[in-house]
Structures are given as structure tokens and as C-alpha cells.
């Protein structure tokens, strides 16, 4: 079952005043998101990530293509669909003088909650996101981290089946970012919510997402699990060797794709560590270089991102 089935989606923003401008945001994007998954949409600034999320969330209509979300068309069935999804972004903004519980209650009412059910839902979300101490604090007096937690609480007020998170940990300190990620993982685990998130933090995507799509200039360049993407980009494995004296002869060794010297370590990116490591060690031994340490690691998603964003 698919939560999102997007086919050949195109979107161009046009401005006529004060000067004529056209920005192509999406160029024939097709993407399928399985229900119950956490799906990452990654890409550099201006890649079209937020535009894609906005179309899926019915905030924007596509110029061409079809998008079916939870089995409903985002244009024809938008009103019905809105009951079943929600969204939070990393730069949340709500009415400045509303208090934390008033913000949640306001949105709860928009989703038809009232009376005891509304109060219970507000209490539940305040507790879930540890907002109790800030309950009576006006929005403009909250710190960035608390605003982010409030945005997540608001996004869950209607118990959505599909949740869009647009850079949910943007600007958070590491401790808070870890807690937000834990919340996100918990939402899927406990409630089975499908989550589509955009992020610039590769670790976040690697840690949370079942699948990832890389967008650049409005097109999907690659998609798959983090592991699949690393393999597909062909970055290979990284063999780090602590050697004395520095070894010069490894750059031209068979299977070495990249060679970097750094602070007593040499890093060789190879096509396959299992095959190449014995050969590298033999070469070093033959040239009288002492190997004091060896580390083998897979490339990080960040490297995949850099490679794709080039």
C-alpha cells in the first residue's frame, strides 16, 4: 500500500511583477512512498523538496502530473485529504500572543475537536512533548526548541495518518535534535504514522529513514535505502591506515579510487575493502612502511549527498 503515489509532477513558479520571472521547482518528479515508512527527501537548497511536500499536503497545486495521497487525489479530494494529514516545519510560526495550549487547542478545533475530547487531546500532546512548564507561555516568548516541539504537537493534533516534516531539527542544539528524532521514530513505531521528512542532516536521514530520494534542480537523481544509495553512487569503502613514514605508493594501487593523507593517516577509498585491504597491506610491508592502525568504514550518506549535489 502506498501513502504517496506521485507521477510526473511538474511545478513552475511564475512572477509577473515587478519583473517577469520563472522558476522551475519540479521537473517530472515521480515518487512512491510506502505506508508506515519514514521517507527522506534530501537535496540542496532550491532542489524542490518543500515544493514537493507542499503539493502532497494540498498547499500547492501541481501544474502537471498526478499525486495520490492515502488513496485520494490532492487536487480533487483535497478537502477530505486534509483531515488525514498534517505538517510541521523546522521554522515554525504561530500567532505571537497565543499560549502553548491555546495554539494546540485552536488547531484541534479546526479538526473538529471540542469539549472534553479537545481538552484531553491538548493535555496528551502537552505531556507527550514535555510542554507542561510552558503551557501558559505566549508563543513569542518560547525558545527555538520549544517552538519546534509545539509545532510537532500541533502536527499530531488530528492523529494524522501521514505527517510531513520539513527540516524538523533545523537550528536545534544537538541535545534537542536527538530528542526530536527520538519523537519522530517513536511516532512511527507506536502509531504507525507514515512520515515524509526533508532534512539537510545526513545523519538524521540515515538514522530515521527507511528510504531516501535525492532531489536536485527539481528532479530525482537517486532513491533507495541509505545503503543502496552508497553502493549505487559507487563511492566504495574507506580504508584508513595509520602509517610511518607516510606511504606514497598507494594512490596508484589497483582498486584505489581516491587517496587522501591527513595527520598521520592515509585514507584510501577503494571499490571493495575485502579484496583491496590485503593488497594494500602487502604493498606497505614491501616498501618498509610500518602500519600502526587500520580502520575500515563504509562511506557516509553525506558523501553521497555531496557527490549527487555536484
Amino acid at each position: 500500500m502506498l501513502a504517496i503515489d506521485a507521477r510526473d509532477v511538474t511545478k513552475t513558479f511564475r512572477a509577473r511583477w515587478p519583473r517577469r520571472r520563472e522558476t522551475v521547482a519540479l521537473r517530472g518528479v515521480s515518487l512512491q512512498v510506502p505506508r508506515g515508512s519514514i521517507y527522506g527527501v534530501l537535496g540542496p537548497n532550491g532542489a524542490g523538496k518543500t515544493t514537493f511536500l507542499a503539493i502532497c499536503a494540498t498547499l500547492l497545486t501541481p501544474d502537471r502530473g498526478t499525486v495520490t495521497v492515502l488513496g485520494l487525489d490532492v487536487v480533487r479530494d483535497a478537502a477530505r485529504l486534509r483531515r488525514r494529514l498534517n505538517m510541521a516545519s523546522g521554522r515554525p510560526s504561530f500567532l505571537w500572543s497565543l499560549r502553548v495550549d491555546e495554539v494546540i487547542a485552536f488547531f484541534g478545533r479546526l479538526y473538529g475537536l471540542s469539549g472534553r475530547r479537545l481538552r484531553a487531546r491538548v493535555d496528551e500532546l502537552v505531556a507527550l512533548f514535555e510542554l507542561g512548564p510552558y503551557r501558559d507561555v505566549p508563543y513569542h516568548e518560547l525558545s527555538t526548541g520549544i517552538k519546534q516541539r509545539l509545532a510537532l504537537a500541533k502536527a499530531l493534533v488530528n492523529d494524522p495518518e501521514l505527517l510531513f516534516l520539513d527540516e524538523p531539527t533545523l537550528g536545534l542544539d544537538p541535545d534537542m535534535a536527538i530528542r526530536v528524532r527520538a519523537h519522530v521514530a517513536e511516532l512511527r513505531r507506536r502509531h504507525g504514522i507514515t512520515i515524509v521528512l526533508t532534512t539537510h542532516y545526513m545523519r538524521e536521514a540515515e538514522q530515521l529513514c527507511d528510504e531516501i530520494a535525492f532531489l536536485k534542480a527539481g528532479q530525482i537523481l537517486a532513491r533507495g535505502t541509505a545503503e543502496e544509495l552508497k553502493r549505487r553512487i559507487g563511492l566504495g569503502d574507506v580504508i584508513a591506515l595509520r602509517v610511518t613514514p607516510p606511504a606514497r605508493g598507494l594512490a596508484g594501487a589497483p582498486g584505489v579510487l581516491r587517496y587522501v593523507e591527513n595527520d598521520g593517516w592515509v585514507e584510501c577509498t577503494v571499490d571493495d575493502a575485502g579484496t583491496r585491504l590485503p593488497e594494500l597491506l602487502r604493498r606497505l610491508d614491501a616498501s618498509g612502511v610500518e602500519v600502526r592502525g587500520v580502520q575500515v568504514r563504509e562511506p557516509e550518506l553525506e558523501e553521497v549527498f555531496v557527490e549527487l549535489a555536484r
Binding site: 498547499l59 479546526l110 471540542s114
Partner: protein, 264 residues
């Protein structure tokens, strides 16, 4: 949507406007300061000009209508303005609500504020300048207030449409539109003093007839034989048009990405 859900969504916007207003110092100025200053200064001017009691009533009716319409219209405009100012527009359009919930909720609060102002200014006008606000009777008063509130709804919704169409650039309409309409509708003078083509425009404004109907109780002849009905019919027609315009501008904003640009 069930009736209960409809009512809850309307109440959500009404309550939100009340909460925002209760924490805003400008609320006091909007609700009391400017309207009272208006009635006192215009009332004193009528004394200086030595106007007859009927003429004083004529001018004060316009002054009171100005305050009632302005305050109620601003409240309706806040349905969108609050979110534009806080850059949170997308959240309410992400929810399963219609524009009727935004405008009706805000209009309810606008009517409460408008009625409060009307009562304060009517008492002040009576006490300071002998203005007999009760002369038209309950029916006349109700028709006058209904005309003012409907005009305010039309202007407020039209402003919401303009803001959704042009973004923050259209914010000035929130304050300018009501004044323009009120000048054309003859707040301090009969529209017969306006130049021919402008008077024709004035005749198409519902508030012109609402004011005419109310002033008829003070001895001034209306433009048309049934001013109350004409005013209300025009107001209802414009209300439908304004609502359609707002709906179309939200649709256009979804197509052009303005909802996103006015958010976060």
C-alpha cells in the same frame, strides 16, 4: 462536515480573535479611544456650526456608522492578517476548513465589538449632544446595525481576498477600504451633494441606503423608496461576490505558491 464541526471551526476563529484582542493594547484604541474622539470632535463641531438637532443627528449617525463599520471590518480582515503578520498562513489552509469558518468566526467577534462601540457612542451622543438614538425604534435600530455589519463583512472579506491575492503588499487595504467606502456612502453629508457620476457609485453602496433609512427617522428623505430593503439586498449580493472572490484568491494562492510565501 457536521453542523457541530462547522460551529466548532467557526468558534475556533472567534475565540482566537478574542484571545489576540485581549492581549493587544491597540484593541483599546480601536474599541474606545478613536470612536470616542470621533464622536466628541464631530459633536463639538456641530455645536460650533450651530446645527439644528436633526442636522446634528444626521452627522452623528454617520460618525457612529463609521466607527461600527471600521471596527467590525478590521476584525474580519484579521482572519487573514493575523496569520500574514505571524507568517503562519499555511497552517490554517492545511486544516480541513473553508473560508466561511475564517470569516464567520471573525465577523462574530467584529459584531460584538461593533455593538459595544455602538452602545458606547449612542450613550455618549445622547448625553453630550442630545442625540436620540432610540427614535427609529427597535426595527430601525436592528436594520441600521445589520446594514453596518453586512457592509463591514463585505469590506473585510474583500480585504482578505486582496491580501490572499497580493500578499503583504495589500495590507494597507485593511485600513483604507472602509474609509473610501464611507466617504462615498455619505457619512457626514447626503450623497446628493456628490458630483453626478460619484453619486451614482454611492447609490450602489449598501451603506448609503442603510444610512438613508436610519436618517429618514430624523426627517431626511431617502434616495430610494425602500432604503432598508435596498441596502440589505445590495449587501447580501456583495457579500456573496466578496466570498466568491476570496474563494478564488485562495485557489489562486494555492496554484501560485503564495500560501507558502506568506508562511514560515
Amino acid at each position: 462536515m457536521s453542523w457541530r464541526a462547522e460551529a466548532v471551526a467557526v468558534w475556533a476563529f472567534a475565540l482566537r480573535n478574542l484571545q489576540m484582542a485581549s492581549r493587544n493594547v491597540f484593541f483599546f484604541f480601536e474599541l474606545l479611544f478613536w470612536p470616542i474622539v470621533g464622536v466628541v470632535s464631530i459633536g463639538l463641531m456641530t455645536r460650533f456650526l450651530d446645527l439644528r438637532p436633526e442636522e446634528t443627528s444626521f452627522v452623528l449617525i454617520g460618525t457612529i456608522a463609521l466607527s461600527v463599520v471600521q471596527v467590525c471590518q478590521l476584525e474580519v480582515s484579521y482572519a487573514v492578517l493575523f496569520d500574514v503578520w505571524s507568517r503562519s498562513v499555511k497552517h490554517q489552509f492545511l486544516a480541513p476548513i473553508g473560508i466561511r469558518h475564517l470569516t464567520l468566526g471573525s465577523w462574530l467577534v467584529g459584531m460584538v465589538r461593533g455593538l459595544t462601540i455602538f452602545l458606547i457612542l449612542a450613550v455618549l451622543g445622547w448625553w453630550s449632544f442630545g442625540f436620540d438614538v432610540l427614535r427609529p425604534g427597535p426595527g430601525g435600530l436592528a436594520a441600521f446595525l445589520a446594514g453596518c455589519f453586512l457592509t463591514a463583512w463585505v469590506i473585510g472579506v474583500a480585504v482578505c481576498a486582496l491580501i490572499t491575492l497580493f500578499g503583504n503588499r495589500a495590507e494597507a487595504f485593511a485600513w483604507a477600504t472602509a474609509n473610501l467606502v464611507l466617504v462615498l456612502a455619505g457619512i457626514y453629508y447626503p450623497v446628493s451633494v456628490l458630483p453626478g457620476p460619484v453619486a451614482a457609485v454611492a447609490a450602489a453602496i449598501p451603506l448609503t441606503h442603510t444610512l438613508d433609512a436610519f436618517r429618514a427617522h430624523y426627517g431626511f428623505a431617502p434616495l430610494v423608496p425602500a432604503p432598508t430593503l435596498t441596502g440589505l439586498a445590495l449587501a447580501v449580493a456583495y457579500a456573496a461576490l466578496a466570498h466568491a472572490a476570496f474563494w478564488a484568491s485562495v485557489r489562486r494562492a494555492r496554484a501560485r505558491g503564495l500560501l507558502l510565501r506568506m508562511s514560515e
